[in-house]
Symmetry: C2
Subunit: 231 residues, 2 copies
Amino acid sequence: MGATQKKAVVLSSGGIDSTTAMAIARAEGFAVYSLSFRYGQRHVMELDFAHRVSNALEAKEHLIVDIDLAKIGGSALTGLFEVPKGRDIKEMGREIPMTYVPGRNTIFLSYAMAWAEVVGAADIFIGVNAIDYSGYPDCRPEFIEAFEKMANLATKAGVEGKIRFRINAPLVCMTKAEIIRKGVELGVDYGMTLSCYDPSQEGKACGHCDSCILRRKGFQEAGVLDPTSYL
Amino acid sequence: MGATQKKAVVLSSGGIDSTTAMAIARAEGFAVYSLSFRYGQRHVMELDFAHRVSNALEAKEHLIVDIDLAKIGGSALTGLFEVPKGRDIKEMGREIPMTYVPGRNTIFLSYAMAWAEVVGAADIFIGVNAIDYSGYPDCRPEFIEAFEKMANLATKAGVEGKIRFRINAPLVCMTKAEIIRKGVELGVDYGMTLSCYDPSQEGKACGHCDSCILRRKGFQEAGVLDPTSYL
């Protein structure tokens, strides 16, 4: 598509969802600007996976931004709490989980918006998902829409009418199994991805945190062989 | 007001506007949680001024968060461009200035929202100002309103109805002179503040960048002695 290829900033965590969102952006013809964050997460190894995924999907650039969520506090993913293990899937759906990080997707999308303005991308892809028991308020379509409206008022490019930002959340209404099937259809190798909140130093998944449980179930339901290395 | 004193997160840059916003929050009876950012700004010294102001206005806490705007690029305030000097005030109003930082207030407010959720503050104060030639899209009331809507959809506290976030922008329709008069009325010592985009190592203002020009004019129009140390 040459010099005029349309650009998208894709939030990339090295997990199933963001990797599938990136594959969808590629399939729609976007040049991908992959954006990840070092935010004091316990599972900082996800950044290596995000980098591998960005290369495999031929991202034009992979930017890792350092942010300081741990200083703000309030979550098991950045703090001293234990990551919950072995929970029942029904229990996960009942409340907003301890692994909720206040403001995380808002902050991530704000950086994505800023970078999109700088590189001239109108589209931002985020692999959020409102079903499958995630329970995070900043994964719902109403949040995504409100963010999009705000973004078009926040930026020079938006206000001058040069860019009309779109926040694409193509997975928002898909189950984990549907996401996996979609990715497989697009040729994604999920062996490159990491979902675990508490992986070993060699990058093996614990198999028992909420994220591992949902991932395992997703592969089962999709009827796809789970390529994950579990401890 | 004791244990039940209401809390506000106040974005604090050590300049006239955020200092006045903080004084207004105090006058309205809020316990102030002052939030500043080390974002690769050339005028990083503003953080010392923000700290002094936070102490003088008896903030409960002053949190400085490190963020990585320079990596995203696109602005004279974080990049290698020269800060424009000696511009005519009319020229400043004509276009969005080079000192525009893509996404800055969106990112700042996102952190403020996250911290507000953690400390249990419903109110966020930001000293933005839509007049006096600022020209920044993320200083306008329509942006502030859109952010507020989004914040109430983004957070656990908002969604569960525990907090209804309000983004307070009390200066949005005030001229610099009105802001200064308001601050003086509330007892603010503007000698503690720094506005300059390009100060000396001793914290003296250059006197010639857009920010210095607007500040100087503000004191003149307010009929208040300018306490600034200029080079």
